[in-house]
């Protein structure tokens, strides 16, 4: 399957969802389906699926402690250990994981400016680090911002985030920085997959699909806010209803809203079945979340079983005469 097919299928799938939601949003009889049923179902799938996957991973054994050591081990007292990159304590592991999860430490490697043939050049990975960081953080902030729809009264913190996010006060309603960042970052991630040949080569349909999906979510969100206005009071009423498990379907919210909701629901439902599960997996990855302490403290493998080791006795039996001749001590003459 070539790039075009992968792309076409992913984009097609997202567009199909948009069309279905548009139609559904226009028909008032279907509105409860798209406004209540689908979000509930998607959220349930997400919750159950996510937990199932994480528990499934968590239950599988970690037979050996095999972290990748990226710094000096704990050794002689006068040699300085790198406690983060080669942790020997739980604290060190936590530090390593925090850097990994919140700052994408590993992606950051190789990014400093270097001199090559007289010019300063930058490692190519810097952009992917920046892009990934921008994407994940803006997504997180947007998700938090959305909580204002589900909570009453709106907590102070969320209002604060809202305020900072819209601090440039461009346009009315205020333009959020994170909206721009998210759409920009997703576009970068998508374009990168398309124009860098090696990326195109390794990319699959299931790499393009979530990107299109999130791009669709971002665009429909921005459209709703600035261009095709929806009844925000109705949206809040619906969201509160969903959150308090007393769903109501207000009239006249606007079809674009249903597109947004359908795309978000798809993302939720798709999440546990896809590579997006890296969000949970990164915490469980034995390459990073274990301390390099095998020599100080025994790690136990739950399924370890005894094996047949060629015994010294057998060895001596095979070579006894030769050993004696060579003056090597033997157990039995």
């Amino acid at each position: 399957m070539g790039v075009k097919v992968s792309l076409g299928v992913s984009l097609g799938a997202v567009l199909a969802i948009v069309v279905v939601a548009l139609v559904g949003g226009e028909v008032s009889a279907l509105q409860p389906v798209f406004g209540i049923l689908v979000p509930y179902a998607a959220f349930a799938i997400f919750l159950v699926g996510f937990i199932y996957r994480v528990v499934d991973w968590g239950r599988s054994p970690v037979p050996y402690r095999i972290p990748t050591t990226c710094g000096q081990q704990k050794t002689l007292p006068w040699i300085k250990q790198n406690k983060i990159e080669c942790p020997s304590s739980t604290l060190g592991v936590i530090g390593r994981m925090i850097l990994e999860v919140f700052a994408f430490r590993s992606l950051f490697r190789h990014t400093k400016a270097e001199m090559a043939s007289g010019n300063i050049v930058y490692g190519g990975s810097k952009w992917i680090w920046l892009g990934a960081l921008a994407f994940h953080y803006s997504f997180l902030i947007i998700a938090v911002r959305h909580l204002r729809l589900f909570l009453e009264p709106v907590p102070f913190l969320i209002n604060g985030i809202d305020l900072v996010d819209g601090m440039f006060q461009i346009g009315a309603p205020t333009l959020y920085l994170t909206d721009l960042l998210l759409i920009g970052a997703v576009s970068y991630l998508l374009v990168r997959r398309l124009i860098v040949p090696k990326m195109r080569y390794i990319s699959l349909a299931n790499d393009y699909f979530p990107l299109f999906l999130i791009l669709g979510i971002g665009i429909s969100g921005v459209l709703m806010r600035f261009f095709i206005r929806v009844d925000i009071v109705g949206v809040k009423e619906l969201a509160m209803g969903l959150a308090t498990l007393h769903p109501v379907m207000p009239e006249g919210i606007g079809a674009i809203f249903f597109v947004h909701v359908a795309l978000v629901s798809t993302l939720f439902a798709y999440f546990p079945f896809s590579k997006l599960m890296h969000a949970g997996g990164v915490f469980l990855s034995p390459g990073r979340n274990l301390a390099n302490t095998n020599r100080a403290k025994m790690h136990v493998n739950p399924w370890e079983y005894p094996v047949k080791i060629h015994s010294y006795e057998d060895y001596e039996n095979e070579f006894r005469e030769k050993m004696k001749e060579a003056g090597i001590p033997v157990e039995r003459e």
């Binding site: 090559a116 043939s117 050049v121 490692g123 190519g124 040949p197 090696k198 080569y201």
Partner: protein, 192 residues
């Protein structure tokens, strides 16, 4: 304008094109990497090619010093001798220049004395290809020498086919059907 001047003027362009056409003999997924990763330790192959091609072009135009050419060609061909190229593909890098120069000088071809100059230059390129072939052969012979060395250093107690040099050679030549029977000369007879 005579050829020398024209080529001197277009040097950067021609060298660039030459470098690119060498890159393009690699899988297209890799070309971009060779081109854009500028750190010579993160991209040794791309760096060697881009460092050697400019001086090689100068050498062709002006110096024609065999020793210099040889060492510059070495930088490009040595790696190709261990990559997935047939011999022709390993040395073809020089040939690529011919086409680039012809393309770049096409419209000046009718100038006085130009054609003779071009022929002279192409002869030099031909000679350079022969040198590239020498480099390639030197590398390939070295590889076999290293293999043989390792082979001789193998402990005498290594058994079976791993001890049989002719088996190894036949395998290399794609005649590895003789897995069951070893050659007669080493006295190993049938390999289990």
């Amino acid at each position: 304008m005579n050829l020398d001047k024209l080529l001197a003027k277009k040097k950067d362009l021609i060298v660039d094109k030459w470098i690119n056409s060498i890159y393009e003999s690699y899988p297209s997924e890799t070309v971009e990497f060779f081109r854009h990763q500028r750190n010579k330790f993160a991209n040794p192959v791309g760096a060697d090619i881009s460092e050697a091609v400019g001086p090689l072009f100068d050498e062709l135009l002006n110096g024609n010093n065999q020793k210099n050419m040889f060492s510059l060609l070495d930088k490009i061909v040595r790696i190709r001798a261990v990559q997935d190229f047939p011999p022709s593909g390993a040395v073809a890098v020089v040939l690529l220049l011919k086409k680039i120069i012809r393309d770049e000088t096409k419209k000046d071809i009718d100038t006085d004395g130009f054609f003779e100059d071009l022929l002279e230059l192409e002869s030099r390129i031909d000679y350079c290809i022969l040198l590239a072939f020498d480099v390639y052969m030197k590398c390939r012979e070295k590889i076999w020498e290293i293999k043989l060395d390792e082979f001789k250093k193998r402990p005498f107690f290594v058994e079976g086919e791993a001890r049989c040099l002719s088996y190894m050679v036949r395998q290399e030549q794609g005649q590895g059907k003789g897995t069951k029977d070893c050659c007669n000369s080493c006295g190993l007879g049938e390999v289990r």
